[in-house]
Subunit: 440 residues, 2 copies
């Protein structure tokens, strides 16, 4: 079959090792599909000593990433070093050298995507990044090429395997967040510093890519309202179950078109969703993205969101795609973020206060005479009606949690009512709120 | 932006109308993604009188399909006439005229795919066919481009919306097949002649495409063992529920690699699957395909499998893809069936007798002294062990159904045991069997 395409891998950590492994193991099926072989010619990593358990025969392996991105044998650079600074610099220089780039680095793309895509377009090379969202799930390709005829109306994604694992475990075992997180860390499912995952930063990075793909919206990552899962307690799961709901950490983006003026709802937070929805069945470290298009209706894409070989699956698929573009001289054939650059524009975000949804509220209250009536009045004064109340115990001396489920209400009104409630002397801790998403 | 690409639609039925509607309605977002407009220049249908409720202003509309496929204004022909004979002839002539072809016709591709793809490759044009399997779900693109780095191990698809609707209704209402089918026909979910759907023919057509994509297996449609859903009765649902199972009509393909010799399991039949699996949650007319790859692990793709706009969503996505290829002169960039033609080869099918699975069996028995013992012996003699027995009533005078769940057993042995059982004088009707799939 055809000539081989030369691959250079920068960063031989978990994913880089998976990529090398997969290219070796599935070389035959890759060539049967592509019509030509992919060959790793060079790998660069600062650590050249650790044994990764893979055969690097015939591959130049050193710590010279500068040499790699200038090597004429290298057609495609796989950037797997992570982070923003060095990765940005390396990627720009690789592009300047005329190299195509495949990356799994959502943080890099969320912060510097526009600059990188512009540089690639000017240089006539591709940047492929399927592995950056949803691991092995071909969600970006599906949105960009499979659902391209649709006006996308909403995206709801479980896009962080660590938080989904922690929440699934909390639900199953009834254990506290800290206990489950510790176990996830011991098992390698969570980082020593889990903030990136559990505070929603990683999901927000991915959401900027999803929102661009879905709506042509050029969002600034820092503007996306992001809430983590640290505040969840086992009682939340019990209550959710009683209401026929489940709790999932979701990255949500929706299009609001009011008389032709488009605004974007974009947010990352733990969310209650109907227990019978498909997303609610996505457990453990798995990922799924539900996309609703005006023509196709509801769709869902499910698979492993992380891990050595699932992520390598997406990276190598990108390598095959770029190899086809090289062969046909068709780099830049598809707009990387689904919209051509001039159609990818800033769109205003809908403030959270304008959201309208049922809400799950937890109040911490000393149950003294009249307090429940005053709480009810606070909600009534803000035109919020209550659908259900759960109170596990009475607490005249010690505060007890009271769980409220509201009918659909505007978030600004709910926040105001909660401010009134939280100012009451019988309310001993700040109230908590979880949003409920229904149409999944 | 760029020049427009000219579209000609042959066949203005439900899907054709949806395609025209969607190209009109979403013209703006299509151009924002593609960088150029798609323009319907010509439509041909034998019926030029019926009002389809769409604006055909500026579009030449007549019954001259020969003229359409020769029209220099037409770059891409959308073949939506269905069937094998006329569609094959028209497609071949369109290709000979240098036209790219987009089709939703799985029957055509299942029977004449090799001939059509060869003709297209020789002519340097594309045949795109995402809409032929899974309606609006971009499942073919995902397998061909998204999961291309994997050795695919199995595919389990709910790929016929009519049968899934009928089975979902039977489960929900407890009504008989004939009753639900009649209602599905009244609602337009099933054809007046439902055989194509309920006997599994449509699903088998689609499975030939999925098996080619997954394994590079060139299967002959007629060789695929296919069983329909006419024989299911409400009791099967009750029993399934008691066993924690659900009944779905599945198209199944698996790779068996024994010492490097590859054989393919391919079959279409109603199947019992774990009630907690994602596929079991796919209800109504929705479709889903679960694909297991060696690197990515389990994945699932869910969405509407039929209908005017969901199918049009896939057709128009293909039009956009082909338009990109036209612009870049990169037709034939991707092997249409995922494997390059020389790697797409005949692979032997695994005979059903070699399958090994738990089985659900329904025997119809007069419960006379000793008969249950003799039935048990028949299974024991064939080394089949029984996991559960359900008997709703005793029937000395009238035969009653006895439901058996076996432990994993070879199908050939089960068939032999059933032959022995069915020959007993107390067994008054042929026994029935449903296969159980576990790993979903």
């Amino acid at each position: 079959m055809g000539d081989s395409v030369g691959i250079g891998i920068v960063g031989l950590g978990t994913i880089g090792t998976g990529v090398a492994k997969l290219l070796h193991r599935n070389a035959s099926v890759i060539e049967q599909r592509l019509g030509q072989p992919l060959r790793v010619v060079r790998i660069a990593d600062l650590d050249t000593q650790t044994d990764r358990g893979i055969d690097l025969g015939g591959i130049r392996f050193d710590d010279d990433s500068d040499g790699l991105i200038a090597d004429p044998e290298v057609d495609i650079v796989v950037e797997l070093i992570g982070g923003y600074g060095v990765a940005r610099d390396l990627t720009l220089r690789a592009i300047a050298n005329g190299k195509h780039v495949v990356t799994a680095n959502k943080a890099l793309l969320a912060l510097h995507g526009r600059e990188l895509f512009e540089a690639a377009a000017q240089a006539g090379v591709d940047i492929a990044f399927e592995a950056s969202v949803g691991g092995g799930i071909p969600i970006l390709r599906s949105m960009r090429e499979g659902l391209s005829a649709n006006r996308i109306e909403s995206v709801h994604g479980i896009v962080n395997g660590t938080t989904n694992y922690v929440l699934s475990e909390m639900e199953e075992t009834g254990e506290a967040f800290e206990v489950v997180l510790k176990r996830a860390q011991d098992l390698g499912y969570a980082e020593a510093d889990p903030s990136f995952d559990v505070d929603g930063i990683d999901a927000a990075h991915k959401l900027t890519l999803l929102a661009a793909m879905a709506f042509g919206a050029d969002l600034t990552y820092e503007d996306i309202p992001t809430e983590g899962i640290r505040g969840l307690v086992p009682m939340d799961y019990e209550a959710a179950s009683q209401f026929g709901l489940k709790i999932k950490m979701l990255a949500i983006a929706k299009l609001r078109d009011e008389d032709g003026v488009e605004r974007i709802e974009a947010r990352v937070h733990p969310t209650m969703i109907p227990a019978e929805s498909l997303l609610a069945k996505v457990d453990g470290a798995m990922n799924a993205v539900a996309v609703h298009g005006d023509a196709v209706g509801p769709t869902l894409f499910y698979g492993a969101g992380a891990g050595e070989l699932p992520t390598a699956s997406a990276v190598v698929a990108d390598l095959m795609e770029v190899a086809r573009e090289i062969r046909r001289g068709s780099a830049g054939r598809v707009a990387p973020l689904s919209y051509v650059p001039e159609a990818l524009v800033k769109k205003p975000l809908v403030p959270l206060g304008e959201l309208e949804a049922r809400c799950y509220l937890v109040l911490t209250v000393l149950d003294r005479p009249g307090v429940l009536g005053r709480i009810a009045s606070a909600f009534g004064d803000h035109e919020i009606s209550i659908e259900s109340v759960l109170q596990k115990a009475r607490g005249r001396e010690t505060a007890v949690p009271i769980v409220l489920l509201t009918h659909p209400a505007r978030e600004a009104a709910v926040r105001k009512a909660l401010a009134v409630v939280d100012a009451m002397p019988e309310v001993t801790a700040p109230s908590r709120m979880l949003r409920i998403e229904e149409d999944l």
